[in-house]
C-alpha cells in the first residue's frame, strides 16, 4: 500500500457513536497498513452522521476529512494515498452558526492522553482559579450568568455560593452524569471525548466551594465514558492535581443502575447511598443536608464542562455570548428526522430554525415539530421555529430547554402516538412515591393507548387536559412535575390530530397500527413474491392480496417490496378475508 509522505498524523473518531458505526474495524485495518504513522484515537466531533470519520493531518498543517470510511483495504488505501473519494467538508453554514467552546477539544485530542489535554491549554484554568481566592472564583461564576445545564437552569454561581457558605468537616460535590433522557447524548460525548475538561471543572468547583470529596454518578449504560473517566482520574492522581488547598480530594465514580428518576438530585443522593432511588421533599436542600447528611452540591456534566473556559476567558467574555437571561453556549443532541444528526454547540439565543434546518439539514417541507427536553419537555411546532433558544423563551412555549436532547419530528409522525410513547416511558419510570405521578401518569398513558388504538372517546381529551395539571401540582420531583408536558403540548398544538383519532377513528399520518390497513397495489406489483416469502404471518396470498385479518401491520412487506407497491391505507380500505 502506498502511503502519502504528506501525512503527519491520523485521527479516528472512537466515541461510542463512532464505534457503533464500525470505527473499530477501520482502526484495525489502518493499524495494519500504516504502522509507521501515529494514529490518534480521538472522541466525538459532533458530526455523527458521517461516522466512521478519519481525519488526516498533513505535514503542512492542513487536514483532510474522510467520512463513512469502510474497513476494507481499498478504502484505507484511498485514504493513505490522500485520494479524492470519500472526502468530506464540514458544511460552512453549520460552521458559521456553531460556536465551539465546551466542545472545542472534543474529537481533536485523545481523551486518554493527559499530555494532549495540557498541550491544548488544559488545567490552565485550574491554575488560574487556584491563584484566586475561593470567593473570587464563586463570584466569577456568578458574574458569568451560567445556569445549570441539566435542565432546571438554576444559576450555578448562586448554588456554589450556598455551598461555599457551609462549614462542615465533609462537603460533597456530585457530578450528575445520569443522562437518562432518551434522545440525549451531550454528557456521554463530553465524558468520552474530553473527560479531563469535565474533571477540571469539578476540581475548580471543589476549590471554590471547599468540597472534600467528589462523586461522579454515571449511568452504567455508558461503559466507554466510565472507562475514560477512570483513566483521567488515575492521571489526575498521578500528577497530584487533586491536591487542593493542601487537602487530597477523593474522586469516585459510581455507576447508576438504570432509573430515570435518579437524575433528580435527592433521588440521586439516595441511590449513591445504596438505597432505592426515590426523591424526598425539599427543603432541606442538598446544600444543607445531602449525602449522609453532609452539605452536598450537584452539578451536571455539561455545567462542569463550561467551567474551565469560563474561568480561563473570564466572566465578562463568557457573558458576552447569549441572551439577557441565558449566557454562554449550549450543547444539543440533534436526532430524529433530519439529514445531519449529531452533537452541536450553539450560542444561546440562536433560533430553532437555524439549529434544525441550517445546522441539522432537516427538510423544512417535511418537518412537523421538534421535541426539546425529552420526556419532560414538549414539542414546538414548525410555525414557532423563529423562537430564540433560551431557558425562558422555550418555557413560554410549553417546552423546556431540558438537558439538550432535540428530536426532530417529521410530518409522517403521529403526535398522539409520540405523546403516548413519552407517557409510556414516564409512567414506567415513576418511582411510585407520589400518588398523582404513580397513578395519574398511568391513567394518562392508558387513555392515550386507547386513543391510538381507535377506542378513544371525545371525553378522553378533557380527561387528559384536566389530569395533566394535577399530576404536575401533586408530584414531589421533576419527573412528575414535567411528565404531562408532552401530552399538554401536543394537545395545545395538535388537538386536531387527537380529535381525528377520537371522532373519526383515523390517524392523520397512518402511523397508528390499529387505525390502518395494508394494501397491495396490483398495478405496481411485479409478482416477485418477496412479500409472500417474508410475511411472518402468511397474510399475503398467492394471488397477491393482503388479508388484514391476519396482518399484524409489522411493515415487513413494505420494507422488502422493491417497487413500493405495498402501502398503509386508512382502516377499512384494505381487504379482509372472511
Amino acid at each position: 500500500m502506498t502511503i502519502s509522505d504528506k501525512i503527519r498524523k491520523i485521527k479516528i473518531g472512537m466515541a461510542s457513536c463512532g464505534i457503533a458505526a464500525g470505527a473499530d474495524g477501520v482502526l484495525a485495518v489502518l493499524k495494519e497498513h500504516a504502522d509507521k504513522i501515529p494514529i490518534d484515537q480521538v472522541g466525538c466531533f459532533g458530526h455523527c452522521y458521517c461516522e466512521p470519520v478519519v481525519e488526516i493531518e498533513t505535514v503542512d498543517g492542513g487536514s483532510v476529512l474522510y467520512s463513512r470510511v469502510k474497513p476494507a483495504p481499498e478504502s484505507i488505501a484511498n485514504i493513505l494515498a490522500l485520494g479524492k473519494a470519500g472526502r468530506f467538508q464540514i458544511n460552512p453554514v453549520r460552521q458559521a452558526k456553531e460556536l465551539l467552546k465546551v466542545t472545542r477539544l472534543a474529537g481533536v485530542i485523545d481523551p486518554t492522553s493527559y499530555e494532549e489535554y495540557v498541550e491544548n491549554g488544559g488545567y490552565a484554568a485550574l491554575a488560574k482559579a487556584l491563584a484566586m481566592t475561593p470567593a473570587e472564583v464563586v463570584d466569577e461564576v456568578k458574574k458569568s450568568g451560567l445556569r445549570g445545564r441539566g435542565g432546571g437552569g438554576f444559576p450555578t454561581g448562586m448554588k456554589w455560593g450556598f455551598m461555599a457558605a457551609k462549614t462542615a468537616e465533609q462537603k460533597i460535590l456530585i457530578c450528575n452524569a445520569d443522562e437518562g433522557d432518551p434522545g440525549a447524548f451531550m454528557d456521554r460525548s463530553l465524558m468520552e471525548s474530553v473527560p479531563h475538561q469535565v474533571l477540571e471543572g469539578m476540581l475548580i468547583a471543589a476549590y471554590a466551594t471547599g468540597s472534600t470529596r467528589i462523586f461522579i454518578y454515571c449511568r452504567a449504560e455508558y461503559p466507554l465514558a466510565i472507562k475514560h473517566l477512570y483513566i483521567a482520574i488515575g492521571q489526575i492522581k498521578q500528577h497530584k492535581l487533586n491536591l487542593i488547598a493542601g487537602r487530597e480530594i477523593d474522586i469516585v465514580v459510581k455507576e447508576g443502575a438504570g432509573a430515570f428518576v435518579c437524575g433528580e438530585e435527592t433521588a440521586l443522593i439516595h441511590s449513591l447511598e445504596g438505597k432505592r432511588g426515590t426523591p424526598r421533599f425539599r427543603p432541606p436542600f442538598p446544600t444543607d443536608s445531602g449525602w449522609q447528611g453532609c452539605p452536598t452540591m450537584i452539578n451536571n456534566v455539561e455545567t462542569f464542562g463550561n467551567i474551565p473556559y469560563l474561568i480561563a476567558e473570564g466572566a465578562a467574555s463568557y457573558a458576552a455570548v447569549g441572551t439577557a437571561t441565558s449566557k454562554g453556549t449550549k450543547l444539543f443532541a440533534l436526532a430524529g428526522d433530519l439529514a445531519h444528526p449529531g452533537l452541536v454547540e450553539v450560542p444561546m439565543g440562536i433560533t430553532l430554525r437555524e439549529i434544525v434546518f441550517d445546522i441539522g439539514g432537516a427538510d423544512p417541507a417535511a418537518t412537523k415539530a421538534v421535541q426539546t427536553g425529552g420526556p419532560s419537555g414538549g414539542c414546538i411546532p414548525v410555525e414557532k421555529f423563529d423562537t430564540p433558544v433560551d431557558y425562558d423563551s422555550l418555557k413560554a412555549l410549553g417546552a423546556i430547554m431540558g438537558s439538550g436532547g432535540m428530536i426532530v419530528i417529521g410530518k409522517n409522525r403521529c403526535m398522539v402516538e409520540t405523546a403516548r410513547y413519552f407517557l409510556d416511558f414516564t409512567h414506567r419510570e415513576s418511582c411510585g412515591k407520589c400518588t398523582f405521578c404513580r397513578v395519574g401518569t398511568k391513567r394518562m398513558f392508558e387513555t392515550l393507548e386507547r386513543i391510538t388504538a381507535g377506542a378513544g372517546v371525545p371525553e378522553d381529551l378533557d380527561f387528559l387536559a384536566g389530569m395533566g395539571p394535577k399530576v404536575i401540582k401533586a408530584s414531589l420531583c421533576g419527573l412528575g412535575q414535567t411528565a404531562p408536558n408532552p401530552v399538554l403540548a401536543t394537545l395545545r398544538y395538535y388537538r386536531h390530530e387527537y380529535e381525528n383519532h377520537v371522532n373519526n377513528r383515523q390517524c392523520d399520518v397512518l402511523a397508528c397500527d390499529k387505525l390502518v390497513d395494508i394494501k397491495l397495489d396490483p398495478a405496481k406489483c411485479v409478482k416477485c413474491r418477496l412479500c409472500i416469502k417474508n410475511c411472518p404471518v402468511d397474510a399475503v396470498s398467492e394471488d397477491f392480496i393482503i388479508d388484514n385479518n391476519k396482518c399484524t401491520r409489522c411493515n415487513t412487506c413494505i420494507e422488502v417490496c422493491p417497487k413500493d407497491a405495498i402501502c398503509r391505507v386508512k382502516k377499512g380500505e384494505g381487504f379482509y378475508r372472511e
Partner: protein, 150 residues
Amino acid sequence: MGQNYDYLKAIAPESSNLIKGLQAVQTREGYVSDASIVAVADYFHTPVVETEGVLSFYAQFKSTRPGRYQICVCDGTACHIKGSPLISEWISTELGITAGETDADGLFSLETVACLGCCSLAPVFSINGKVFGNLDRKTTIRILKEYRNK
C-alpha cells in the same frame, strides 16, 4: 450447593456499596439469583427485604438467567420515531421470544432499553454491548443469523 462470593471482598462492606455489590454479582453471573440476594444482603449487613427492594427498583438488574447473546433494542425517542417497535417485532418473529424472554436454547435473550445514547445512528440495538446502528429489516435479520452461526 454453596456458590463462591469471594469476589465481593474487593468492595468495602458498607451499605452505600450495596448497588455496586449487586452489579458485581450481575457482571459475574449474568443475573442476580435469590441465593445471590441473600449472600449480598449478608455481606453488606442489610436486610434481605431491603436488598430485594433495591434490586427490584433498578431496571438494570435481572433476576432470570439471560441467554448467551443479550439483545437490547433501544427504544429511546430517536429510535422510537425511527421505527424501533418494528425492530423488536422483527426480532421477536425471527427468534420466537418477546422482550424479557430467553429462547429455549439459551442462545438469545431480548429486552428493550430506554436509550443507548447512539441516537444519531437510530434505530439501534446492541448485542452483548456491541452496538449496531442504522438498522432495517435486512440488516437486523443478517446480524441475528451471524450470531446464531458463531
